[in-house]
Symmetry: C2
């Protein structure tokens, strides 16, 4: 299925507008004017503004998974706690590159829409849940490998990681100070330390 | 200085409207219609919608300080780590009482306005900073009393606590599940455990 350049243009423009001013404040007229698309074009690809909003959210979630979650957590042969560390590095680097502007586009939509629109809330809940599952799977794998204490609940700890990262991005956006993000990431790394168990000696070192 | 009932009515109504639909979406017409105030009344008390927004934010921050922060952290004779525990209890109880609806009204405004309006961003940054200072002061006092490890940085840890609580409230609002908040609060309590030092023996027990 080939992608329509007009549809992509509408999505790209509307994503930018909604990131800057939110879902409700972005009118269809804004989207048409900024994208140069006609009303007929728009309704060929989307049933409504809500339908456009869902497509934007799906795209944001899909990109986050394809560009960040899957590359970092996808390789089941890598050290799982190293993957969590790499993920924290990536989140910090993103806020640094963005000069603490913009916050988390998914978190922004969640704040605006979780109580205002049940359809968006469900999609947002699924999106955060998918993110949490990547983290929980890495933590479970670490536990199986003996690198994480047996009394840790990976599901609960993963909720905390997702929530704390979202809060850190928000506070960094408010304070416009990357040190807030650095402090939070450092504390999240420290959070895992007491849960860690010394690595088992690798079989090769035993054989030598 | 006596408070005007009309001004209070405008503030109360506008606070509710902005909590439900955000600052930008709340029009002056909405506020006048819902409060029953006339335009002349409004402009007697507020210069503009922005001025009203500032008054609402000041009120939200003032209430949070007067009803939650000052009562819990105000008594310098109480165990400071016990105060942090009591604060976490309070935040969890609030989300439970609200059935995971509404999120943090200050965090909601922060998400909407931190990048869109520099005047609001500064006030929001000051508000979060004030909250952080209550936590940092309790952590510093705990360190002085020997209850917290000497290598802990109270200022950095307090940033993390504020951020993680904001994120936990947001994720709880999205998932509509109080267990998310419970998990996050439990992890925040666990976060402090490795930093804690055994209490010094109380002088009375030595004297006996």
């Amino acid at each position: 299925m080939s992608r329509s350049p007009v549809k992509e243009q509408i999505l790209e423009v509307a994503t930018g507008l909604m990131a800057a001013q939110g879902y409700h404040r972005t009118s269809l007229d804004d989207v048409l004017r900024e994208s140069g698309a006609g009303k007929g074009n728009f309704y060929h690809y989307f049933h409504s503004k809500e339908d456009l909003g869902y497509a934007i959210l799906d795209r944001l979630l899909g990109r986050f998974e394809a560009r960040t979650l899957a590359p970092i957590f996808g390789d089941g042969a890598r050290d799982p706690l190293g993957q969590v560390d790499a993920f924290l590095d990536e989140i910090l680097a993103t806020q640094r590159a963005r000069n603490c502007v913009g916050g988390c586009p998914i978190g922004n939509l969640a704040t605006e829409l979780a109580d205002a629109h049940e359809g968006f809330r469900q999609r947002l809940a699924d999106g955060f849940e998918r993110w949490r599952q990547y983290l929980a799977a890495a933590l479970t794998r670490a536990q199986t490998l003996g690198a994480l204490a047996p009394d840790v609940e990976p599901a609960a700890l993963a909720h905390f990681l997702v929530a704390s990262i979202e809060g850190a991005i928000l506070l960094t956006k408010v304070q416009k100070d990357i040190r807030v993000m650095e402090h939070c990431v450092a504390e999240l790394r420290r959070h895992l330390v007491p849960y860690r168990r010394p690595e088992r000696a690798a079989p090769t070192s035993v054989a030598r």
